[in-house]
């Protein structure tokens, strides 16, 4: 027994030292709370090198480090960022035929390593986005540019073969950040160290990224906006669990908590140092209806589903009045929204009539049937989000009252797009974020609902080349009227973005460009 004692002792010492080693990682000095904002997020950003990822949270944190040429303010107007002015036909930035875009860049802007930002960087960014050897998922519009000229360091000219109205919107898109040519050219961009330690032109620089825990950023002293940012430090803290998030709020550990849900509302409202910030967006909740499905190809059935659903019962309860019922397929926050489309007020009797009309009669078990087939519909959903499921279950109950047997099928987020794309669904619940210039969307892009109305698509097809905005609006509004008649998809409600913010945090103003887009203006 005695001979074993030294060995045990050694083992103990090793364990204790290992313990201390892990415990002592990450020592640093603290910034006074007044100069520092802590942002809670439910999920970790995947990479801080722009363009390689479509996760919104990645874009949010990227927007602290990088800048776009333009951005959208909270009203949907363009603001110049790295561009000195917003190009327009009036100031010569856009050619009258809508094919050439000339950006004059802001002078004196420097990358966070001190190198000057020039038109060569913009051109390089375009080259990266359109490089087919890089796994960049989103290249739309950028890949339609036929030539890029840089006549001088502060001028860049993009040319299209045909008029293209969406280019300004694309340069203001949530992930359209400019990349530093001098650090990436000729390098292995995909595996660049900039993924974790990005260098941008933005207000904050990444100080440390502790995987799974937090990202700490500090003020970029050379930021191009004078006397900005006001804050010395921003910490993005990853808190995946609901209870952890709530405890962090209650203990005052956070200044902002992003992506809260309507179920958090009453809790946050009960905390006196926090407020709920509601931001209208271009996104809207809807039920995709598969128009190729034998049952749902019947317009009566689709209309019966709308008539039979009390949208307000969902928006006022589960959504807590944060979102409002929607009839059109463009949300009210969007400039092309048509408030004057056919509506389907809750009318279960009318819904029953429509189903009878199509030959669906109530069977012995209370479920309608036709030619021996029961009226059974399946709703596809992305698993793991409580609010979505609650909405579906309410809809399920309403449709059950019409004599429709509604089942739910849940799959995980990554399987959702391929399942939808293959048409292996009847109804699916989800939201869609409309573009500022709707030249690619759930109609012209995915069309998972298999909407088939040539007249409607002809209207949309004219949008990208129609230079005058009022004419585009007319086309899109006409499209909404047709869609409201056909019900190719069932619009349910708007989708506002919710977050909790400390009442003494000044300048927090989430908008169409994200929640952190103006972090340089925040102060406490």
């Amino acid at each position: 027994m005695n001979s074993k004692r030294p060995v045990s002792l050694m083992a103990l010492v090793v364990v204790v030292f290992a313990f201390m080693g892990v415990m002592t990682g990450g020592v640093q000095a603290i910034t006074p709370a007044a100069e520092r904002a802590v942002i809670g997020v439910p999920q970790e950003p995947r990479t801080l090198l722009p363009h390689f990822d479509l996760l919104t949270l990645s874009h949010e944190v990227q927007s602290l480090v990088f800048d776009r040429l333009l951005t959208l303010d909270t009203d949907g107007d363009y603001l110049p960022r790295l561009a000195a002015v917003v190009p327009s036909v009036a100031n010569g930035g856009i050619s009258p035929d809508g094919r050439t875009y000339t950006f004059t860049l802001r002078e004196g802007v420097e990358w966070q390593d001190g190198q000057p930002f020039t038109s060569a960087d913009v051109k390089f960014t375009w080259e990266v986005i359109t490089n087919p050897d890089l796994p960049i998922p989103s290249r739309s519009i950028w890949d339609e540019v036929v030539s890029v000229e840089t006549p001088d360091p502060y001028t860049i000219v993009f040319e299209f073969a045909e008029p293209n109205v969406a280019f300004l919107a694309v340069t203001a898109r949530s992930n359209a950040f400019m990349l530093p040519k001098h650090l990436l050219e000729g390098e292995d961009i995909v595996n660049s160290s900039l993924n974790r330690n990005p260098v941008g032109t933005g207000p904050f620089t990444v100080q440390e990224w502790v995987s799974g825990s937090h990202i700490a950023l500090e003020r970029n002293p050379g930021y191009w906006q004078d006397d900005k940012p006001e804050l010395a430090e921003i910490v993005v803290r990853i808190i995946p669990g609901t209870e952890g998030q709530r405890a962090a709020l209650q203990r005052g550990e956070l200044d902002v908590l992003l992506d809260i849900t309507s179920a958090d509302l009453s809790f946050v409202e009960g905390l006196n140092q926090y407020q709920v910030v509601t931001t209208p967006t271009y996104a809207w909740w809807h039920f995709w209806l598969n128009n190729d499905d034998p049952v749902l190809s019947d317009g009566n059935v689709r209309r019966a589903l709308v008539y039979g659903l009390d949208k307000a019962a969902i928006t006022e309860t589960v959504m807590q009045g944060v979102n409002v019922p929607l009839d059109a397929v463009f949300p009210p926050a969007h400039w092309a929204h048509n408030p004057d489309v056919r509506t389907y007020p809750y009318d279960p009797a009318r819904a029953q009539e429509l189903l009878e009309e199509s030959g669906w009669t109530v069977g012995a078990d209370g479920i309608r049937q036709k030619d021996g087939t029961r009226l059974r519909l399946e709703v596809l959903n992305i698993a793991g989000q409580a609010e979505r499921l609650r909405v579906i279950q309410i809809a399920q109950a309403y449709w059950r009252d019409l004599g429709i047997d509604v089942q739910v099928r849940e799959i995980d987020g990554a399987s959702f797009p391929p399942t939808m794309g293959s048409g292996d669904f009847q109804i699916a619940y989800g939201w869609f974020g409309e573009e500022h210039e709707p030249v690619f969307n759930l109609w012209l892009g995915t069309n998972w609902q298999n909407y088939d109305n040539q007249e409607a698509f002809d209207l949309l097809a004219q949008v990208p080349t129609t230079v005058e905005q009022s004419e585009r609006r007319a086309l899109i509004q006409e499209f909404q009227k047709l869609a409201a008649e056909d019900v190719p998809t069932l619009p349910l409600a708007t989708r506002a973005l919710l977050s909790a913010a400390r009442t003494d945090l000044q300048g927090y103003q989430p908008g169409l460009a994200g929640s952190l887009w103006n972090a340089a203006d925040w102060s406490k």
């Binding site: 609901t242 809790f267 019962a313 698993a383 499921l389 399920q396």
Partner: protein, 274 residues
């Protein structure tokens, strides 16, 4: 023999309590439709998050469903899930374990390799990977959990069989010319039943817990099937405002799992006193 077992059992206070609690839950699950007339899936969004009252004994959930009747029906799902996993897992594990122990040689080597391989992955990780990549249904979940948990039983049974084979009466049976299969079924299988039944009962409990953990991580049984784990997961948004949503399913899981454990421990001592 039977009397001795019974007398031993009466000394196991905890096991008796466990049996009683478990019986209550099982009966409640079986007779759910008679106990509550309320449809567990009946949604009433205007009656949501109501505290317990005379019309809703355990209150209503976040879309106005009656928590009491959901609890009863969820008990059905959770218990059948547990039993299903235990049956499939023990059946598979028992068969493969017996096969390996009995045949030895390369079959044994192969089965043992498979057992060791699967045992080296944390079961929750294995179940999560499998359920992330397929459309989940309750049946598939049972299969996934069974396929990731059978090696425990298989290892136990294999050990038992190897031990039993050394026993004189088995050798004697061999000697007098009984066929291998006959020896297996007449002498070896009955003697492993004790171990197997204990391991099965513990698996029921473990499956219920694992399902709740999977629900929490977003990979649980999909709706409309309510399970206790699913209910508890759904309640996490309301721990403060509506604690009754979490308390009842949480207590159900805890009580049932604890009861099964007490019962299993009791059985273990009765079957093979150490």
């Amino acid at each position: 023999m039977r009397h001795i077992l019974l007398r031993r059992f009466t000394k196991e206070t905890l096991a008796i309590i466990g049996l009683f609690v478990l019986a209550v839950f099982v009966l409640a699950a079986i007779f759910a439709p008679f106990i509550t007339p309320v449809d567990p899936n009946r949604v009433n969004p205007r009656e949501m998050l109501r505290p317990p009252s005379s019309s809703h004994w355990m209150g209503t959930d976040d879309i106005g469903r009656d928590v009491f009747s959901r609890l009863l029906y969820a008990g059905r799902a959770s218990l059948s899930l547990g039993v299903g996993v235990a049956l499939v897992s023990v059946g598979l594990g028992g068969a493969l374990g017996a096969l390996a122990g009995f045949s030895e040689g390369w079959i044994d080597a192969l089965v043992s390799l498979l057992i060791d391989s699967i045992l080296s992955v944390p079961i929750l990780a294995l179940a999560m990977v499998a359920s992330a990549f397929i459309d989940l249904t309750p049946w598939r979940l049972i299969l996934i959990l069974a396929l990731s948990s059978w090696p425990t039983t298989a290892r136990l049974v294999r050990g038992q069989v190897l031990q039993l084979k050394q026993l004189t009466y088995v050798e004697a049976a061999h000697a007098i010319g009984a066929t291998r299969l006959r020896v297996l079924f007449r002498h070896i299988v009955p003697n492993t039943l004790g171990v197997v039944s204990v391991s099965a009962s513990l698996l029921v409990a473990y499956a219920i817990l694992i399902e709740s953990a999977l629900s929490f991580l977003g990979f649980g049984v999909p709706p409309p099937t309510a399970t206790w784990g699913g209910m508890l997961y759904g309640a996490q948004l309301y721990y403060r405002e509506a604690p009754w949503l979490a308390v009842f399913p949480g207590l159900s899981i805890t009580l049932v799992v604890a009861s099964i454990n007490f019962l299993g421990e009791g059985l273990k001592r009765i079957v093979g006193p150490t």
